[in-house]
């Protein structure tokens, strides 16, 4: 260290170093940002365990409104318009805890074990997701919230939201190493995502940016593959596995809360395969009586059943408004929530 030099020369030395440091850092980062933007990429929030944990905190936030916790996977996460929920159900505080690609029962268990929770759970799940071996899929998120989520990360995540909303280079896909590896391997630039997340973790899918026929086929093929590698349990096995779910429901109800199971719409081949593998009369239709909780299947509501699903499983963000209203109407009509 230049401790022996005079103070003014030290200031000059470090001043010059700081100047060049800032100049180079800003030039490289801004240049990279402009490069990606010129290729049509946009900034956006990236879903993560931190973002999920931030919303999990909202479940226990104090206030006069009842938490309305949305569990499930992508079908509900990408379909529900949170602003419509807020406006149409002013007595409730909607919280999005659904996680793309993961069945939700670990989070239901977490809410059941949360002595303070007495809100309403809207749990998007199909018969397959109620099979016992899928119960733990979302557990890593619960564990993260319980063991690693700290006040420090809360502050960090707030700042990260701002950074990710502002800069394309905040997305790991555009990081230095992934870019170098792509370039060295002659691989294409990242996929321009058609999914846009909000800070509340709900998301919009823009199917105008996607080859929907290919997306539909990919879903059907994926579902068939999963059914082959993981065949459905017998109805008896399936019902036996529900005993545990029934206990969690009873715990929440015992504190004055409510749990509504909701099988979200599917269409086309995906619906055919799902109904064939898990005939509703043998599986879903027996759910409510087994676990003593209300259950709603999209086939019961024509507005939900007929909603257009671009890939047979998800809806375009332009239909979210209509869909959310239809869902709210169904819940209110059955007395499970109040306007």
């Amino acid at each position: 260290m230049r401790s022996s030099t005079s103070s003014s020369s030290s200031i000059r030395h470090w001043g010059v170093a700081c100047f060049f440091c800032a100049l180079v850092a800003v030039a490289v980062c801004v240049g990279t940002e402009l490069h990606w933007r010129s290729l049509g990429y946009e900034s956006g929030i990236i879903d993560s365990k931190l973002l999920w944990a931030e919303q999990r905190d909202q479940v226990d936030a104090r206030g006069s409104r009842t938490p309305l916790v949305i569990l499930g996977a992508s079908r509900i996460e990408f379909s529900v318009d949170m602003d419509v929920l807020e406006d149409a159900l002013p007595g409730y505080r909607p919280v999005m805890l659904a996680i793309n690609g993961h069945y939700p029962l670990a989070v239901l268990r977490d809410l059941a074990e949360d002595e303070d929770f007495n809100g309403v759970v809207l749990c998007d799940i199909d018969a397959r997701g109620l099979s016992a071996h899928y119960f733990d899929m979302q557990q890593p998120y619960v564990d993260y919230h319980r063991k690693q989520w700290t006040p420090s990360w809360r502050v960090h995540r707030r700042a990260l939201d701002l950074w990710q909303s502002t800069a394309v280079i905040a997305n790991p896909d555009f990081g230095l190493l992934p870019t170098l590896l792509r370039w060295s391997g002659g691989r294409a630039d990242p996929w321009k995502s058609h999914i846009r997340f909000h800070r509340d973790r709900s998301a919009d899918i823009d199917f105008q940016r996607v080859d929907t026929a290919a997306a539909t086929q990919a879903f059907v093929d994926g579902f068939k593959r999963r059914l082959q590698s993981d065949p459905p349990p017998s109805p008896e096995q399936w019902l036996a596995g529900l005993a545990e779910v029934g206990k969690w429901v009873a715990q929440i109800k015992g504190r004055g809360g409510e749990v509504v199971f909701y099988d979200t719409p599917t269409s086309g081949k995906l619906r055919e395969y799902a109904d064939e593998a898990f005939p509703p009369s043998l599986y879903w239709d027996r759910l409510s009586a087994t676990i003593h909780a209300p259950a709603l299947r999209y086939t019961e509501i024509s507005a939900l059943e007929n909603i257009p699903l671009a890939d047979g499983s998800h809806l375009d963000f332009r239909n979210k408004h209509e869909y959310t209203h239809a869902l709210i109407d169904a819940l209110v009509d059955r007395g499970w929530v109040q306007r």
Binding site: C21, V24, A25, V28, G175, L177
Partner: protein
């Protein structure tokens, strides 16, 4: 809070501004102490009470040790503080391990015992601040210095936020004058401090988390599916990760302390260029190895009881040092391996070819052997359990498969090999130097350019935030 978070950047800017806005040294120390406790509470606020309790108790006990004239009373007090500190550490860190092994031993004797299920959260940094406190009390017992009369000064020594959760494990003699003598931020200290902070974040975010961690995690998550070349890549990735992660933390610690006018001892001196295992331990986690030497190895008798006792003390020190890192047999094996390395090295130096020890070719060959030995031992450090450790060892020593498998490595794995080689090369080139003298020698524009590139690479390496590996110890 972690150094690689927006929270720390905001926190540090506020602390630095507040520290320099205050004029009185006492007020500055209070500010640093409160800031350190805020820093610690950002993880798990209730554990601040444990830190406060431990600090206060050891401060009081140290005064008792100093005041007692009767050697037996002094010994009783020092034993009391050892029992309390190690008891608390043992409860949080080792109770599950001890119970599980107790149950396994009973099962071996045909008795079925299921230990109660309890999930103890380890207070972050407990191993580090316990060692701070112990060294203070033991040094007072050994009459190395008189205890401080100021609780605040002692609490700041234990809790000073740059080194609170993962070291360096400083001695009171290294910090006393700095705490008692007024100091402030200087342009040179701030400049070098920020430079070290950038270097530390570069090591952590760019190298440890972006380059090394994905390959290390992928390999250690499923070592059974990898061939020998992938096993070597995974182990070298972890070797790179653990160095960059921990050295990165230490650089950040040194840098943030320096910006406030405090000098912490360096914790790493290019360890992957070590020639020999005793040389490695003079370069790796220096503050821990010197702590173990001064308070454990010396207490066991050191090299005072003849050759066999010396070798025994070396082995015991390394075994206990291994266990300090974590409550698992894999850590004991890691420590045992290093103990074995040291024992063999000492024996060879004494008996086999003492005269040829300075031969250049021999030194080069021995540096390679040291590196391979250290990296192989890291496999045990990272393995999930003993059986996985064995599985990895078998993969590593299938050298034919290693040679044929190199062609099958993917670009990310090749990037790990190249980066690790560069890391070793940098260690070799700067073997007896460090970043501070090197940064000082560079012309300002070149230094700025280098730091600017590092900063850009940090910004351009977003991803999941990984906790520093040594936080779990």
């Amino acid at each position: 809070m972690q150094f690689d978070s927006f929270t720390f950047l905001a926190f540090f800017a506020l602390v630095l501004a507040g520290y320099n806005a205050l004029r009185a040294w006492g007020a500055r120390k209070w500010l640093l102490l409160v800031a350190s406790y805020v820093f610690y509470s950002a993880w798990n606020p209730p554990f601040l009470l444990l830190l406060l309790g431990s600090t206060t108790l050891d401060w009081l006990v140290a005064r008792r040790i100093d005041a007692a004239e009767d050697p037996r009373r002094r010994k009783l007090w020092v034993i009391a503080t050892l029992l309390i500190n190690l008891g608390v550490l043992g409860y949080f860190k080792y109770s599950r391990f001890l119970l599980d092994n107790f149950a396994a031993a009973l099962a071996g004797a045909g008795v079925n015992y299921a230990p109660p299920a309890f999930d103890i959260v380890l207070p972050i940094g407990i191993s580090f601040y316990t060692f701070h406190s112990l060294s203070y009390c033991i040094d007072i017992y050994r009459r190395r210095f008189r205890p401080t009369a100021s609780w605040r000064d002692y609490a700041l020594y234990v809790g000073f936020f740059p080194q609170l959760v993962a070291g360096p494990i400083t001695r009171f003699t290294q910090m006393r004058e700095q705490i008692e003598t007024p100091r402030s931020t200087t342009s040179a200290g701030l400049g070098m401090g920020l430079a070290l902070l950038i270097l530390g974040l570069f090591e952590k975010i760019v190298l440890a988390d972006s380059v090394f961690a994905p390959i290390a995690n992928a390999y250690f998550d499923a070592p059974g599916t990898a061939d020998s070349a992938a096993a070597w890549t995974g182990v070298l990735a972890f070797s790179g990760q653990i160095f960059c992660d921990f050295a990165g933390y230490s650089s950040c610690a040194l840098g943030s302390a320096l910006a406030l006018g405090f000098v912490l001892p360096i914790n790493f001196r290019n360890p992957y260029a070590a020639v020999g295992f005793s040389d490695f331990w003079r370069r790796w986690h220096i503050s821990l190895s010197s702590w173990l030497r001064d308070y454990l190895y010396v207490s066991l008798g050191g090299n005072r009881g003849g050759e066999w006792r010396t070798l025994r003390n070396l082995m015991l020190t390394m075994l206990i040092g291994g266990l300090w890192h974590g409550a698992a047999w894999t850590f004991v094996i890691w420590g045992g391996l290093h103990g074995l390395y040291l024992v063999l090295e000492r024996t060879m130096r004494a008996h086999l070819w003492p005269a040829r020890w300075n031969n250049v070719v021999l030194r080069f060959a021995y540096a390679i052997i040291t590196l391979l030995g250290v990296c192989t031992a890291w496999a045990w450090f990272r393995a999930a359990d003993v059986s996985q450790g064995w599985q990895i060892m078998l993969s590593l020593f299938d050298l034919h498969a290693a040679a044929t498998g190199i062609g099958r490595l993917g670009p990310s794995q090749l990037a790990v090999l190249v980066t690790f080689s560069l890391l070793v090369l940098v260690h070799a080139l700067f073997r007896n130097s460090g970043p501070i003298p090197w940064f000082s020698r560079l012309p300002a524009p070149l230094l700025g350019l280098l730091l600017g590139l590092m900063t850009a690479m940090i910004v351009l390496s977003p991803g999941d935030n990984h906790a520093f590996i040594y936080f779990q110890f």
